[in-house]
Amino acid sequence: MISRIHAIRIIAESLQKNDLVVSTTGMISRELFITDDRSGNFYMLGSMGLVSSFALGLALLNPSNRVVALEGDGSALMSMGTLALVASEAPRNFLHIILDNESYESTGGQPTITNQIDLAKIASSCGYQKADRIENGDQLSVALTNSRNNPGPRMILAKVGIAPVKNIPRVTHHPIDIRDRFSNAVSNMLPK
């Protein structure tokens, strides 16, 4: 099993310029921020559970951009109904990555229920085109490549270990600056 920060590094390396990433509150946004602070990243620093529907809204109206929703098992559980919504809206450019450490690591590591619940199977049942459950870095790289070459919505459920990054900084951008920087990045990607 890989650490979450390792998984985020692999994901960040796979990103292309026009990919848009929306990341959930807590450590995932902080780890993405220290790994690759791109203008096409939207760090949702609160509103737990809303990343997937936020990314869905973005994906449906920006079909030329790939949209990556990056969240944890706790936030995915909080809005499991959105899995059905994503599947029914079926944006081809939607990649849903869940970094599943089976815990609320950001608040002290209390267990979630994903040691018993397979979110990838749920996504498949809802109608995601593909939902890969991956256990190591090589599988993650392959799944990321496949997700780029095939239509979505797709899910990558990456089982990751609990390995807090010591002294990890907070996202230093103000939410309004995150919004404007992201919005400008999207505008600049539009066909002229």
Partner: protein, 178 residues
């Protein structure tokens, strides 16, 4: 949900746990918060308490009502942000007069480092109030268990909806791993 890695052991969770057990609370549901870690751990370790990690705070409102119908007293634990998730579901408790005891750890108060926590930090007390939940605020550590005892007793014996809000100053900014 708060962003923390470090936890300093404090006394109020033990006193709150003792209040809850003395009132025979046997179901505790929660979306965790760093400030609730110690209390959750105490409840998890007690075989007489059924703990439930919620997928969303709103489930806790209904779990509590269902448990009461089955003769069981419960407590629902959440961070102030979670108060926003329960608003509509409080209609269940209010309309059917189900007893409800909620313990809320506050974010978005003085010392907050994440502005995203501020709206619910400001809004939680008012939102609970207008939703028919009586609010008691613990601003100092030695108030917490006493207020929990009062609020939970009122909830269970008078069939009321009661919340105790534990101020961020009690939980400590230290535990927020800035």
């Amino acid at each position: 949900m708060s962003d923390s890695g470090e936890h300093v052991l404090v006394d109020w969770p033990i006193a709150v746990y003792e209040e809850l057990t003395s009132l025979e609370v046997s179901q505790v549901s929660f979306v965790p918060d760093a400030g609730l870690t110690q209390l959750i751990n105490l409840c998890n370790a007690d075989p007489a308490i059924h703990t439930i990690p919620l997928t969303s705070e709103e489930e806790g409102i209904a779990l509590s009502a269902g448990a009461w119908l089955g003769g069981v007293r419960s407590a629902v634990l959440m961070q102030s942000s979670g108060v926003g998730n329960i608003v509509n579901m409080l209609s269940l408790s209010r309309t059917c007069r189900f007893p409800l005891f909620i313990l809320v750890t506050m974010r978005g108060e003085s010392g907050e480092v994440n502005e995203w926590q501020v709206p619910m930090g400001k809004g939680a007390p008012t939102i609970l109030d207008v939703s028919g939940v009586n609010v008691r605020r613990a601003e100092k550590e030695d108030q917490v268990a006493r207020l929990v005892g009062q609020a939970a007793r009122t909830a269970f014996t008078c069939g009321k909806r009661e919340a105790v809000l534990i101020s961020q100053s009690v939980i400590g900014v230290k535990s927020f791993n800035k």
